[in-house]
Symmetry: C2
Subunit: 281 residues, 2 copies
């Protein structure tokens, strides 16, 4: 978890600032859902870079550039903390940030790693994610750091997101794709599988079928929100107002985002603002 | 086919300028291949917007903005003609361009429409493409214009590109996906199917299996290159030098592009330059 230096002296005034949540697209709404669940008094500013998604098959340089633009956007909005919900941005961009920002920046990886380390009994953990996330090796590195005798097995599953976007999460094709990607995990006798992409929990049923009922699936959104709750409380940064507010920003057409958001957020979004992230260099 | 006004008075000097070819990513290399095949003396400047691909699930406004930036890039390079290889950009952006440029701009749609109209005997044509291309209705409109009693059946096939990118073009999963998308074309008794996305010819075998051997598949890249050859000749714009040269530009990591280019171009690319299209507003 990348935590940047930030000005803490005015924490009292910062308490009721919104939490920023950044994702390449819609998947990060699962983190919004969990944050609102664990922290109902918090306000949220969400940004989905829908014009340039997906990030999962792009290079580190490009994902870093996009993420820096997103951070500039949140700097202009004055948030008290920024959560990077996107696994690819958390894997590729956060380790490369060396600037100090006015708010701490937390990626989604550590929450999943910590929970997986707690849950596994045999120290054999699987990770699924985008090509870029898996190739970065960040989950392996962090899992191995968490326990010296941890065995980690990773697999990029680039067809999962398109299947979910097509609404075929439980189609027989999804079962076949899942079986093809995940069959080796059975041989490796993992007992925990980290779903290292915000979309994947939507394919839980099918993934569970492929890896077997005895494998616990870790959905990082939930553990991420729990960790952020602890952090805000420790830092005396929890909101102390009953009013909360959500603002949504995207880089492509708001209508497309609104139409599909309920899949992740499980409630309707009324108002979405389109911005051009390239203006935030 | 969108053809813009351009300065023709110096056509003699313009002959040996390169042909510009624009695509959202790698698929447009199939057009490069056909252009080099039909026009071996021509030089080519290729641009793939790999940092922001795919275009096929994005809005008209966004695709128009990206395409205008690409045109600005080609303006800086001085090309004699610009070919938009990307079906989505041709469908969504070209009809909205109202500026005059220093070179004519041709989209890929008309070449496919013309060939399909010639080939069909029963005036029942199918079209497959990205969500954005199919929703634009451009193929339907143009096919119906080509013949008053033309029946057109369209289907967006968003999983085809991810399947190709995964290298599963002939996997049993590709057969199942293709069957699911294309089964209705059999009922409609089409005799021609336009492959309205530069990637789809790579799934020809599987698509043919789903629609039946009696359906002719139209791969626009070839007919596009043939049409451009005629146009250049008519306009006295054909290159008259034996030397030809290809330059490749991308917006994401050149290495990723080089590694995967042979799938489409069927030859290796030595040198690729990375640019930031957002600098060409």
């Amino acid at each position: 978890m990348k935590k940047h230096m930030f000005l803490q002296k005015d924490s009292k005034d910062r308490r009721n600032l919104p939490i920023g949540i950044f994702d390449s697209g819609l998947g990060g709404l699962t983190v919004v859902k969990e944050v609102l669940n664990f922290l109902p008094h918090e306000s949220v500013i969400y940004l989905g870079d829908t014009a340039r998604l997906p990030y999962g098959n792009k290079s580190e340089d490009t994902v870093l550039r996009f993420t820096k633009e997103a951070i500039s956007f949140f700097s202009s909005k004055d948030v008290k903390i920024l959560l990077v919900a996107c696994n690819t941005a958390s894997s590729l961009a956060l380790p490369k940030l060396d600037d100090d920002y006015n708010f701490p920046i937390y990626g989604v990886i550590d929450a999943g790693v910590e929970e997986a380390s707690k849950v596994t009994r045999v120290n054999r953990v699987g990770v699924v994610g985008t090509k870029a996330t898996i190739q970065s090796g960040i989950y392996e590195k962090k899992l191995r750091k968490s326990s010296s005798n941890m065995e980690v097995y990773s697999k990029a599953c680039p067809l999962f997101v398109p299947l979910i976007e097509e609404g075929w999460m439980e189609d027989s094709i999804a079962y076949k794709v899942s079986e093809k990607y995940l069959k080796d995990f059975k041989k490796e006798k993992i007992d925990v599988l980290i779903l290292g992409c915000t979309h994947y929990p939507l394919m839980k049923t099918v993934i569970k079928y492929a890896v077997g009922d005895n494998v616990a699936l870790i959905d990082s959104a939930r553990s991420f929100a729990k960790k952020i709750k602890e952090f805000l409380s420790e830092q005396n940064l929890s909101a102390d107002t009953a009013q909360s507010n959500c603002e949504f920003y995207v880089t492509d057409e708001p209508r497309l985002f609104r139409e599909r958001s309920s899949l992740f957020l499980e409630k309707d979004i009324d108002f979405v603002t389109k911005i051009n992230l390239e203006d935030y260099k």
